[in-house]
């Protein structure tokens, strides 16, 4: 049996390859360019708006990090696993003495690394704009950026999960749909609670408890208003995302283990 150190080494090799592949992917730079453009454009938007310019810098900046980060997580993330399967590069890797779950873990760690670099780059640009404009930099901003990254990691786990059993196109569509619904779960639950149809209430309630509740990871509004959230809220959100991601990865590993590569 492989020792833990050997397993970790193989996971890191696969993660490094994923990171290297992403770094050599043009789509990533295109998305990053537009994210930075949007963050910088907040200066212009604040000029056009009367008052609350600090809030506009923060609102636009955090939305750009979250929005473009999600696009990167979904499309670059799915591309990096689906390409391995579609282009059959997975054959040569899986014919080595490695477990299939190690391959998935390597991909996941690599993608999480790619996203970390993205979020740090976009975050640095965002904080740079705030600093140049003399806007206040609060602890809430760091909390919000941290939870945006957590959301992106959860989205990556979701994208990996779908990629293990469907095409890259469908995996992209499913992840995008879960991302949208994940931000509407609170509203859906409230809508269901006010409904007189019992089955609709049950449906919205079960969706609320089973689908990833991405609103729990969203502190953008508070941070834009200059507020800092309670530590317990952040820790609970982190634990929630970690458990959900782990569940998705275990399910993905189970599906991937049984998959035949034609």
């Amino acid at each position: 049996m492989s020792s833990l150190l050997q397993i970790l080494n193989r996971i890191m090799v696969l993660a490094q390859n994923t990171l290297r592949e992403a770094v050599r992917n043009r789509l990533l730079y295109n998305l990053l360019f537009f994210a930075v453009l949007m963050i910088v454009s907040s200066i212009l938007l604040a000029e056009l708006h009367l008052g609350h310019s600090d809030r506009i810098y923060r609102d636009v900046g955090l939305s750009a990090i979250a929005g473009f980060g999600s696009l990167i997580a979904i499309f670059v993330g799915i591309g990096l696993l689906s390409r391995e399967i579609d282009q059959k590069t997975v054959y040569i890797v899986l014919s080595k003495p490695i477990g299939r779950w190690e391959f998935l873990a390597g991909k996941f760690v690599g993608l999480a690394g790619v996203l970390m670099v993205q979020v740090v780059a976009m975050g640095a640009c965002f904080l740079g704009v705030l600093w140049l404009q003399g806007a206040e930099i609060t602890g809430g901003l760091f909390q919000a950026i941290g939870l945006i990254y957590t959301e992106l990691v959860l989205l990556t786990a979701l994208a990996l999960f779908f990629s293990t059993f469907t095409t890259s196109y469908l995996a992209g569509m499913f992840t995008l749909a879960f991302w949208v619904v994940g931000h509407l779960l609170m509203d859906l639950r409230t809508f269901g609670a006010h409904s007189e149809v019992e089955s609709l209430r049950l449906l919205t309630e079960s969706l609320y408890w089973t689908l990833p509740n991405l609103d729990r990871l969203d502190l953008k509004a508070e941070a834009a208003a200059g507020l800092t959230s309670q530590g317990v809220h952040v820790v609970t959100a982190l634990a929630y995302a970690a458990c959900y991601s782990l569940g998705l990865l275990l399910a993905a590993a189970s599906l991937f283990r049984r998959r035949d590569f034609h």
Binding site: M1, S2, Q6, N9, R10, V13, L14, Q16, N17, R20, E21, R24, N25, Q87, K88, T89, Y91, I92, V93, L94, S95, K96, P97, I98, G99, R258, D260, F261, H262
Partner: protein, 310 residues
């Protein structure tokens, strides 16, 4: 001990909306001895690649068992001493040849101290020393095949599985691969390869198995298989009269004429002796006289037809 063993290996795929079963393998039994070159031959869709994918852990069998050495293929450790080159050279194009080999060497757990030297040696051996810093996307088909072979040999494998290693290569490339396979046998490794290029397989294999429609229909040492139903002699002559050509054609098992030259295949020596006398009397020239030999191609085509494929 067998380097590779298959027992009752079956694989059924389910295709389409109605999940119609498609039997790719139907109870394949096979044993490959250590240190031999084993050719796995058969027409397209016969089940060669499915068998190889089961051996390399890419596909799960529906029934039966397969072993590499004494380890079942379901265990990742069975691939520790296995080198594999898949058909179609699908590699990570964003990597350079060197980075690609480096990644696979690390996956195999080759210590850093050995890694560089082993990669350099292999790059020289496959003729890619000057192109190792180029991204694989810029490699030609032959270069891709060679970098694939280099990664297959990185782990100093005891068993090397090559899926169509000569497919798409020019004659020089095919010869290089052939030589490399022979070199691997000299080093005591077992080589299991599938191929459509039967002439190449005939030149280098010790044993072959012919698979048709998911069943192994023939297996054994090449000399034995091709020796069976051999017998007979092939005579090529020039300058025969029309009358003599007709006469010898009737006496021969097979005859082909092209211009002044004629080929006859006789089934026994007496008939050949008589034919030679006739040719001399007629003033014809004997170009060659060789024992008729069934080729591997004849064998594969024959066995494919016998089970209704082609």
């Amino acid at each position: 001990m067998s380097a590779i063993r298959l027992r009752g290996l079956s694989k059924t795929f389910r295709k389409g909306f109605w999940m119609k079963p498609m039997h790719a393998l139907r109870g394949v039994d096979l044993s490959v001895r250590e240190g031999e070159i084993f050719g796995f031959l058969g027409p397209n869709g016969a089940g060669k690649t499915t068998t190889i994918k089961i051996l390399t852990g890419l596909i799960h069998p529906s029934a039966g068992e397969a072993w590499i050495g004494d380890l079942p293929v379901e265990v990742p450790e069975s691939r520790k001493k296995l080198g594999f080159l898949p058909e179609g050279t699908f590699f990570h194009d964003h990597l350079t040849g060197l980075e690609f080999c480096e990644m696979h060497a690390r996956l195999l757990g080759i210590p850093r101290a050995e890694r560089r030297d082993r990669i350099r040696d292999l790059m020289v051996r496959v003729g890619l020393a000057d192109s190792e810093a180029k991204q694989i996307r810029h490699y030609s088909k032959g270069m891709r095949q060679r970098v694939g072979l280099a990664q297959a040999l990185l782990g100093d494998p005891e068993v090397v599985i090559l899926d169509e290693p000569m497919s798409g290569l020019d004659p020089v490339g095919r010869r290089e691969v052939r030589d490399l396979i022979l070199e691997l046998r000299e080093q005591g490794r077992t080589v299991f390869f599938s191929s459509h290029v039967l002439a190449d397989a005939e030149m280098i294999c010790d044993q072959v198995a012919v698979i048709v429609a998911g069943r192994v229909v023939e297996t054994g040492y090449l000399a034995d298989l091709l020796g069976r139903q051999m017998g007979g002699v092939e005579l090529v002559v020039e300058g025969l009269s029309e009358e003599r050509w007709q006469e010898l054609s009737r006496a021969s098992r097979r005859s082909v004429g092209h211009g002044m030259r004629h080929l006859f295949e006789f089934s026994d020596e007496d008939t050949v002796e008589k034919a030679l006398d006739e040719v001399r009397r007629d003033g014809g020239r004997i170009v060659s006289l060789v024992p008729a030999r069934r080729s591997l191609e004849d064998l594969v085509v024959e066995r494919s037809r016998s089970v209704g494929m082609r």
